[in-house]
Symmetry: C2
Subunit: 109 residues, 2 copies
């Protein structure tokens, strides 16, 4: 539908990959890192990490900043909150639905 929904999908599909989740965890502890630094701690090539960082960037979860000859990536947790909000909304809607149903059952009894 809207652009908001596409962003939501980007966040979830970014979070779907375990390597990407590990990268996010690392950036949460370490405030900023380069692709090569991150690649050193992961079992895959630097290029693979670069691609992962790109999809994280497209999801708005990470922000690259050039510093001389290197590019440092920092976490941007805002879209995380949005996505978490969507999930709890669905859960809450379901709960309300259950409550309404319970009410009807008691009334009908």
């Amino acid at each position: 539908m809207n652009a908001h929904d596409r962003r939501l999908g980007a966040v979830f599909s970014a979070l779907a990959d375990p390597t990407r989740r590990r990268l996010l965890g690392r950036l949460a502890e370490q405030q900023s890192a380069t692709a090569t630094e991150l690649a050193a701690a992961e079992p895959v090539s630097r290029q693979a990490i670069v691609k992962h960082l790109q999809s994280l960037d497209e999801a708005g979860l990470v922000t690259p900043a050039r510093a001389g000859r290197e590019v440092r990536y920092a976490l941007t947790p805002a879209p995380l909150e949005d996505a978490a909000g969507w999930m709890t909304t669905v859960g809450a809607q379901w709960d309300r639905r259950l409550a309404r149903l319970r009410g009807k059952l008691e009334a009908g009894k």
Copy 2:
């Protein structure tokens, strides 16, 4: 790594698809539905919906129950809460990191 992490990945990759998110939304309003019912409201074939429901099931987000000749699917919001928890954890970690950094800056001043 652990099984918990694989489950987390399953939830996120299930949530990554817009059709699947719509199905969840539908089941949040409607407590239960069959694959053919859901397919009627979506622009794809029933078989496609069945596959989507299977991945939702593997993520633990939905539970099938046979009722005579039809199979009704109901929402199971628990894994949603888990995933949301993971996200807010990462965000909180980031916030703590920021606070610590700010503290150091003031102390060093």
